[in-house]
């Protein structure tokens, strides 16, 4: 177990827990804590941003790359401690430090996917600049979404090299990534969501056709599970796009806002996390997360509860939406419990085996 990394991951997952609590507060549950305001920044910066920062720092193995996640942890502490403005500055520092990391990677190993990863970091910086400038959440949240979408896009493009795609297909994806930035600009500047919606649909279709998950879904065990998570995530990305296309300017607030954003953050991003936790956590924490078929259950709960949530949003049914939101949180909690449970079971089994042979 790599102990030095543990505080970073503990902080990231603590942020997830508090962000989930904040989310439940926001959708109508009477909970103590008054942390509803922190839901977005905690999810995007303190949890996801820190996690991604840790992954890059582990990969680079250079002390300075740990600066970004460190800023993220400091930011979340300030946010929850009531120092809101200091928090936004720390989150900005977190994103700028991460931009430097992605720039360094793109400089040393230039490639289309390295450039897209840098673009993702730039989107995050823009979002956090708007946050530090006290701009309203609706004007910056899609920049956070773009940070996540482009980070995942860069990794999927990198993996898709294994499929030996035609040059045109790769260039098309690069174009879609650039268009995503344009879409975000239009959202912020003019409240036009339809162009962004069209881009998300385009990306979802590209990924659904060209991602290596189309191949690995035919295998068994963990590769199949990861592929199922990826492909279902792409369906949610496309759904987010369709909602933006259909909703237009209505996506600035209310049910269209809730539905489209959570299709991205839960349907797409959280699916990715479920699919990759058994792969990445062993690398980051030096602890195996053995795959077992029970992990499909939290995935099913995630997708089912999101389906109900989006339906409730479109039907203007806030009570149903609240319970669906609880279902989203239950799915995440179930995944953590099942993943840890698998590790525990493996530990017990190997303990028995070694004492039996002793």
């Amino acid at each position: 177990m790599k102990l030095g990394r543990l505080p970073f991951l503990a902080a990231a997952f603590a942020s997830l827990a508090i962000a989930a609590w904040a989310g439940l507060e926001r959708i109508g549950f009477s909970l103590s804590g008054n942390v509803g305001f922190a839901h977005g920044p905690l999810m995007a910066c303190a949890f996801l941003g820190t996690l991604i920062g840790v992954e890059r720092a582990v990969a680079r193995a250079q002390a300075w790359t740990w600066g970004s996640p460190l800023f993220g942890i400091a930011g979340s502490a300030c946010l929850l401690g009531g120092a809101g403005h200091a928090a936004t500055l720390l989150f900005l520092a977190q994103a700028v430090a991460f931009l430097a990391v992605t720039f360094d990677i793109a400089r040393r190993w230039p490639s289309a996917h390295a450039f897209i990863a840098w673009l993702a970091a730039l989107a995050w910086v823009i979002g956090n600049l708007l946050q530090a400038g006290d701009k309203p959440m609706w004007s910056l949240v899609w920049w956070w979404a773009a940070f996540l979408i482009l980070t995942i896009a860069s990794e999927r493009l990198e993996m898709s090299r294994l499929r030996r795609l035609p040059e045109k297909a790769t260039r098309l994806f690069g174009g879609l990534c650039g268009a995503l930035i344009g879409g975000c600009l239009l959202c912020t500047a003019t409240m036009s969501y339809r162009p962004l919606g069209a881009v998300l649909i385009g990306m979802a279709i590209w990924l659904g056709i060209y991602d290596i998950a189309r191949r690995t879904v035919r295998l068994d065990g963990l590769p199949k599970f990861t592929a199922v998570c990826l492909l279902s995530g792409y369906a949610w990305l496309g759904t987010a796009g369709a909602l933006l296309l259909a909703g237009g300017a209505r996506a600035v607030a209310g049910p269209w806002y809730d539905a489209s954003l959570h299709c991205v953050f839960l349907g797409f991003v959280m699916s990715m996390i479920f699919g990759h936790a058994p792969i990445i956590l062993p690398a980051v924490l030096d602890q195996a997360i053995p795959f077992h078929r029970g992990l499909y259950l939290p995935l099913i709960v995630l997708h089912a509860s999101l389906l109900v949530r989006v339906g409730a949003d479109l039907l203007n049914a806030p009570v149903l939406k609240a319970w669906a939101g609880l279902g989203n949180v239950v799915a995440i909690a179930l995944f953590i419990v099942f993943a840890a449970g698998g590790r525990l079971a493996q530990g017990i089994a190997s303990g028995r085996a070694s004492s039996a042979s002793a």
Binding site: E158, R161, L162, R163, L219
Partner: protein, 103 residues
């Protein structure tokens, strides 16, 4: 004493967790050197330097080599990033699984 071919064969047991394909077929193993005293040195790469899998892979390779060459005085696994990995380094078998065969 294990030969470098035997060790390379043993490394086919190290499988990329997302792809379900072993690291030899992926073309990640650049070289296996066995010194006259039996010390083993594996040179390998990763598909992306930005991915945190490198250290985990190194450990898996060390375990696989140590399990196969029980009496080797030392096992060293080195990640090299030059030349950078390219899809053409994959074996036909990996190509078949991942991209439906070479064109």
């Amino acid at each position: 004493m294990a030969t470098s071919d035997e060790i390379r064969e043993a490394l086919k047991g190290v499988i990329d967790p997302e792809l379900g394909v072993n690291i030899v077929d992926l073309g990640l193993v650049y070289g296996v050197d066995v010194a006259p005293d039996g010390a083993i040195h594996v040179r390998m790469t990763v598909t992306s330097p930005a991915c945190p899998m490198g250290q985990w892979l190194t450990k898996e390779v060390e375990k696989a080599v140590a399990a196969h060459a029980l009496f080797a005085p030392s096992v060293k696994v080195e990640i090299v990033l030059d030349p950078p990995w390219e899809p053409s380094m994959m074996s036909d078998e990996a190509e078949r699984i991942l991209s439906g065969g070479r064109p």
